[in-house]
């Protein structure tokens, strides 16, 4: 699977898992920050929900939320991590 396909797949699954009802994949800038006041403004529970999503869809297990913080800087970064570490 190409990086771009994973990015699109991730955008759609993040919107669904986090109930970002008023957003479409096109609204998410793949390189923009996911947390904090810029970008999507996600919070700590969203980060935990993304950890579940990565395990469910790609078989990636993150031991703690701290590990997630380094990867969850943008959709692009998550996609790169998925490419390198997916087990399904």
């Amino acid at each position: 699977m190409e990086m771009n396909d994973i990015i699109e797949e991730l955008k759609a699954s993040i919107i669904e898992a986090l109930n970002l009802e008023e957003m479409t994949p096109a609204d998410i800038d793949a390189s923009a920050p996911l947390f904090g006041d810029d970008g999507l403004g996600l919070d700590s529970i969203d980060a935990l929900e993304i950890i579940v999503l990565l395990e469910k869809n790609y078989g990636i297990r993150l031991a703690n939320a701290g590990e997630g913080k380094k990867i969850f800087t943008s959709v692009e970064n998550i996609a790169r991590y998925v490419c390198e570490n997916r087990t399904k």
Binding site: S44, L48, E55
Partner: protein, 562 residues
């Protein structure tokens, strides 16, 4: 004030308060590493009753949770004399009650907390309406505060207050999904702390409306609750709400207190927050201890278990060490006990914080004190909202053409629209949120109330049952075990009041009470009790119930204190 005339603790360390304390003094802990069990595909450390102890507290015809509560209540009642008339109230404190016995599919009528409370009340002979406090981790202290005010305000002469919770894959998987569990024994306030351990226990106190002549018994001097109004799970980094609760309790008291018994869950955020709150309240010089290293986090029981344990330790002249604590790992300047200390003081402060932004503090002492006159507040309803699938009504007038399953989202879009967090809420929170928004939207002509002085209380029969069922579906199959952290958080129904507090910056008390039915007399008693808080001036209060998308109801008022 309210005097504690009897108490009892049932814990994996002992089936009485003194047995539990003796085990702690002998260096024991209830915490044990457990291998994976069906429904929990990972190791965990928790304080769980042995099969032998379980056989001692089980009662025929009652669930494991109910048996634990009932045995604790019966033991406390055996040590005192309580009349079972209309002047005695029973208050149950629990976060999830029987949830571990529920499959997520069958009829839930007998599973939910009001059913347990009714069974327990009948078994012990209480004839008044039982109140179930379901206020996440602070439930136990919320229940003590409520009892204190119901007695001080003259609503009742006696209160039997029982806090209980048992463990199950539901709860352990939820905290695991929040990455909040330490795989090994927890280390409160320590630099190496990694999270909490869960535990099961029950504790009961029997309270009598103040009798200033009674000597040698502990009394609740003062109790208070404040909301951070910041986030549904993360506490305020500055400890604002917790500090405000401490200050409210200590305001009129120059009591020489022996210690602060903290919540001390050993999560990164909680312990840091408490250290800030204690030092900002000017109490950094006092010994602080946390008891989670002995019994884990016993949730709805914690506030009562830890209060009673601290009472019994002080009776012996000791302040218990904080098991698991070695090197300070919080930035607030506080003095956490590493070794056992000796004291002749009797007064202490219990603090506790939890999901939904709640923070509570309660001050207890044995010294005699003069009775203080309490003026029962009067409340007047300034606005009323009723919302069902048949429509939304403000003061009886229909305000939206929307009806049916999708009406909450439709009303959000047409009447509110500026709060995308709405979409992240569960159904019960959406209902509470939309109803409160309508209540406040049509509140233009009224005197503006400072947010810090407004409290929120919601009453319900089924609470979070819809979200409980949704969460169970994420943990049911061993092949698809993906517990959802966000769903789990919303299985604490008091998050509803937290959401309203966050939206409107309300810093006063938030509370969630479960009842068998929409009993306005019981609800009014609780409303009056909440308004006894010195700073509270107004109250969002009412009934919220969300069974499914075609069966829901909000019936809420905005009350002002007059």
């Amino acid at each position: 004030m309210a005097t504690i005339i009897a108490d009892c603790i049932l814990s994996p360390l002992g089936l009485s308060a003194s047995d539990t304390l003796d085990a702690i003094l002998a260096g024991k802990t209830g915490l044990k590493r457990h291998a994976p069990v069906p429904g929990l595909p990972f190791d965990f450390t928790a304080s769980i009753f042995s099969g032998e102890m379980e056989r001692e507290f089980m009662v025929d015809g009652f669930s494991r949770f109910e048996s634990l509560a009932l045995t604790s209540i019966r033991k406390a009642l055996a040590d005192c004399d309580v009349p079972f008339d209309r002047r005695t109230v029973f208050i149950l404190s629990s976060t999830k009650g029987n949830i571990g016995d529920y499959d997520g599919v069958s009829d839930f009528t007998d599973i939910i907390l009001p059913a347990s409370a009714a069974k327990l009340a009948e078994a012990i002979g209480v004839t008044t309406t039982p109140l179930t406090v379901c206020n996440a981790c602070v439930s136990g202290v919320s229940a003590l505060a409520l009892a204190h005010r119901l007695l001080s305000g003259g609503e009742y002469d006696y209160a039997i207050v029982c806090g209980a919770d048992v463990q199950s894959p539901f709860i352990i998987s939820g905290f695991h999904s929040l990455k909040a569990l330490d795989l090994n024994e927890c280390r409160p306030f320590d630099i190496e702390r990694l999270g909490l351990n869960l535990g099961e226990a029950a504790a009961t106190v029997v309270l009598k409306a103040d009798d200033t002549n009674a000597e040698g018994q502990y009394r609740i001097v003062s109790a208070s609750s404040r909301n951070d109004a910041m986030h549904i799970t993360n506490p305020s980094p500055s400890g604002e709400g917790c500090m405000q609760a401490i200050k409210a309790v200590m305001a009129d008291n120059d009591t020489d207190i022996a210690l602060i018994n903290a919540h001390g869950t050993a999560t990164m955020y909680n312990d840091q927050m408490e250290s800030k709150a204690i030092s900002r309240a000017g109490l950094g010089g006092l010994p602080v201890n946390a008891l989670k290293g002995y019994l884990g986090h016993t949730m709805g029981a914690a506030g009562i278990v830890e209060t009673v344990l601290t009472m019994h330790a002080l009776e012996k002249g000791v302040i218990l060490p904080t098991r698991g604590f070695e090197e300070i790992g919080v930035s607030g300047k506080i003095d956490v006990t590493r070794e056992m200390l000796h004291t002749s003081k009797t007064a202490f402060l219990k603090i506790i914080s939890g999901f939904g932004g709640c923070n509570c503090a309660v001050l207890l002492d044995k010294k005699e004190a003069a009775a203080t006159a309490v003026n029962q507040p009067n409340l007047s309803s300034s606005r009323h909202v009723r919302l069902t699938p048949a429509g939304a009504f403000v003061d009886g007038k229909k305000v939206s053409e929307e009806t049916g399953a999708s009406m909450l989202t439709a009303i959000y879009k047409s009447e509110i629209g500026d709060y995308p967090k709405f979409y992240k809420m569960d159904s019960l929170s959406r209902l509470a949120f939309v109803a409160t928004e309508l209540l406040l939207k049509y509140d233009n002509g009224l005197e503006r109330i400072e947010p810090s002085s407004r409290a929120v209380v919601f009453f319900s029969h089924s609470g979070s049952i819809k979200t409980d069922t949704e969460y169970i579906s994420t943990i049911k199959s061993p092949d698809a075990f993906f517990p959802s952290p966000s769903l789990f958080v919303y299985t604490l129904p008091n998050i509803t009041a937290g959401e309203v507090a966050i939206r409107n910056h309300y810093n006063d008390e938030t509370l969630f009470i479960m009842l068998e039915n929409k009993d306005w007399a019981a609800m009014e008693q609780v409303n009056r009790a909440m308004m006894l808080d010195a700073s509270a001036r107004s109250l969002v209060s009412g009934w919220i119930e969300y069974i499914d998308d075609l069966n829901f109801e909000a019936d809420i008022h905005l009350f002002n204190k007059i």
